[in-house]
């Protein structure tokens, strides 16, 4: 009997060890970013407030109508440009406020997607992008994957970011949202819940698809179809005022782009310009070009406030960096008319399989000594 008891004791004692050993070998099926306030399963903190951080209000224990559990997170974005940026966003980090200075990221190898639930207070709120990874610094994330723009509905909806095939061996920025004042001129309120990474072995890496035409750079101020961000301010960037929601006689729709160039040579360059980029501020350092191979031209409408304003160059592509645009094409110099006039950049024969710099203009003091105010609308690849 003693012998039997001894054997049983060994079996019972060994069983948990076996189970534990099995758990060690089997990679986890999911990894939680956020499920509920104070949940021990949460791995990241929504601490990385960016851009116009003064425009953001967060309630991370919002108890009304959570998608699951007890709480969701409420974000109120005012769109008031408190810091003058025109955009804002929040990163979930580990530890809090880690912009790559500490080694706090997780090895998420094996995860193939991030899922989350989101809803808008009214519906129609536009989030420019949701992102996994992408924090730089001394300990940079090994991947940056984004999805968007997304127009929210007033009911909970699940969204998925495909991470299959990505190097997730070090991720400090577990999740992030970014939006802009242009996309939400009146601000917006939205809710996020149940953010987690999942291991779905059936998911395949996302192939880069050829975008269908027309493909808009800019259609209207808050359109989800605006695919590029006017973030690449060049030369005397202090001389430029940009309004992406001008109501002054748009060519089509409810708004157009208004640009005031005051030719003060604030930075001493004597010229200035703006690139529309994807994502914002991508000077070829992020692998995020669109495949616009189906395009044969880029067309846009432009007018000068007085007529006679001279733009040295309108351009597509041409950003060169670690990830470069596959080609470039331009027209110019162009002397603008007072009336809306359509211009076209011929793209036939161009390799547009990878475009980060969707559109660009540049001008200078020499040809606009008194500055120039001009308008753009309906910028699109066709």
């Amino acid at each position: 009997m003693k012998k039997i008891l001894a054997v049983m004791a060994v079996v019972f004692l060994a069983m948990p060890l076996c189970i534990y050993a099995q758990e060690e070998k089997t990679p986890p099926k999911e990894f939680v970013v956020y499920v509920d306030k104070n949940s021990r399963a949460n791995h990241y903190i929504p601490s990385g407030w960016m851009g116009d951080y003064g425009d953001i209000k967060m309630n991370d224990q919002f108890m009304e109508n959570p998608q699951d559990g007890i709480t969701s997170i409420e974000f109120k974005y005012s769109g008031k440009k408190s810091q003058g940026q025109g955009w804002a966003g929040v990163y979930w980090q580990n530890p809090a406020n880690n912009w790559g200075s500490k080694k706090g990221g997780f090895d998420l190898t094996g995860m193939t997607k991030l899922t989350f639930w989101a809803r808008g207070a009214k519906g129609g709120e536009v989030i420019q992008k949701f992102v996994v990874g992408g924090i730089k610094g001394t300990y940079p994330d090994t991947a940056e994957v984004e999805m968007g723009p997304v127009e929210l509905t007033d009911t909970w909806k699940q969204y998925t970011i495909n991470l299959a095939g990505r190097d997730l061996s070090y991720i400090n920025g577990g999740f992030c949202w970014v939006t802009t004042a242009d996309l939400n001129p009146e601000g917006c309120t939205f809710y996020i819940d149940n953010i987690k990474l999942e291991a779905d072995s059936t998911l395949k890496p996302e192939a880069k698809k050829q975008e269908s035409m027309p493909f808009y750079v800019y259609a209207d101020r808050s359109t989800v179809g605006n695919h590029f961000i006017p973030s690449g301010w060049m030369g005397d960037y202090g001389d430029i005022k940009y309004d992406g929601a001008s109501k002054e006689d748009p060519y089509l729709g409810d708004s157009c782009v208004k640009i005031i160039y005051n030719s003060k040579a604030t930075q001493g360059a004597r010229w200035a310009g703006i690139y529309w980029q994807n994502p914002a501020n991508n000077w070829g350092n992020v692998d995020a070009g669109f495949d616009l191979s189906k395009a044969t031209k880029l067309s846009f409408w432009a007018r000068g406030e007085k007529g006679g304003e001279r733009i040295e160059e309108f351009k597509v592509g041409g950003i060169m960096g670690e990830y470069s645009d596959s080609d470039s094409a331009s027209i110019g110099p162009v002397i603008l008319n007072k009336e809306w006039t359509q211009y076209t950049i011929d793209l036939k024969g161009k390799d547009l399989s990878y475009v980060i710099g969707g559109f660009c203009w540049a001008t200078n003091i020499d040809n606009n000594p008194e500055g120039a105010t001009f308008y753009l609308d309906e910028i699109k690849y066709e």
Binding site: G284, E322, S324, D325, D327
Partner: protein, 438 residues
Amino acid sequence: MKLSTNKRNTIEHQGICHRDTGFKPVHRCTGALVFLFFLSFLLGASFKPASKVSVKKLKNGHFRLLVDRKPYIVKGVCYNPIPIGKNHESDWWSDPNKPWIVDGKLMKEMGVNTIRIYQPGDNPEEVKKVIRDLYELYGIRTILGNWLGFWEYPCPFYGDKDFQERVKNEVIRMVELYKDEPGVLLWILGNENNYSCLGRVNPWSNDEIDKEPDPQKKNAIRARIYYSFVNDIAGKIHEIDPNHPVALGNGELLGLESANQYCPDIDLVACIIYRGRTFGNLFNSLKATFDRPVVIAEFGADVYDAYLKKEDQNMQAFFLESQWRQIYSNIANAPQGAGNCLGGTIFEWSDEWWKHDENNPDSWKVHDTESNWSNGSYYFDIKAEGNKNMNEEWFGIVALSEELEDGLNKRIPRKAYYVIREFWKNPTIKKPKVKGKK
């Protein structure tokens, strides 16, 4: 469209004498000249007949450079061996220490077969000596160029007939002087002069341009004038020198739509390209706009990391190796390439210490580390202050030491020298590892 000078030039050449050497390619010479040639050979004279260099378009539309009917890939360097403490006006051609002898030996060991000279020195005998020494001692051929008055004060008056005539005569004199040198490979007309047509560098005008209100049409007129002028020179060169192709020295591909219209006598394009790791769609784009072969006549990378503020030989070697891989991917009959690349000349052989502050002689003795301009394609150090990451004095694949060796600054090959040497021994066309488009 004239792509090869072969047929026409063979006919024309029969009536042309070579005044400088008295020798002609043996297959075209009279019996007396053949006799003289062999006599001189027996007497130990080192002269060789000028090589026949031509561009051939293959049946598949690809291009090949032929030297004496053999395929030739230009594996070159831009050569301007300015010593430490001197500036661009330094007459290195007359240097009794003969820097080209030391450099030529190193070049040969690396596998360089061509040097590019932007414009020959003033003394023809000295120039010939350099060309001959490099060719006879090391088998290195020379590309000779001319600035076409691009840097003349106050601007190059391409719209002025007298200016055109003077520049043309200068080029013709160069061709007449050196066309019979066996070491000469080809001629390059200009170097980024097309930027002046866009008003970006050294802008120029004339009455016709001044009368035109539309700035795009102004540029079109400038392009017509400039490219017609270059074509005129090219045509003249072909009349007097049937043995060497004529290249258009062009910055990027800008303006080549006009060249396609006005430059039927141009045989190839010598492009100046600084696009970092890649040449992008350059080869296919050229095919679509101006279907001529291309020598990448200036490309490369500086070796100074302006962000970390230290020399980084790995960075330079990385860019150069990648660029050469692209060149080889686009030579004739390479799989999937455009087949229109004839090779390239790296910018540049050795550092030039005078460049950062060219008006300050004291700075010519200092290897300045302050960056001159910004180029995001060289992304390793783009985070440098003001994004200024290009260090004009640090483009050499050979460093210069202040230590003298036989009266010359000691040459110290950098890592890129060895990496490209190995690449040329066994050129491989690998797929890039990154997902981003090149």
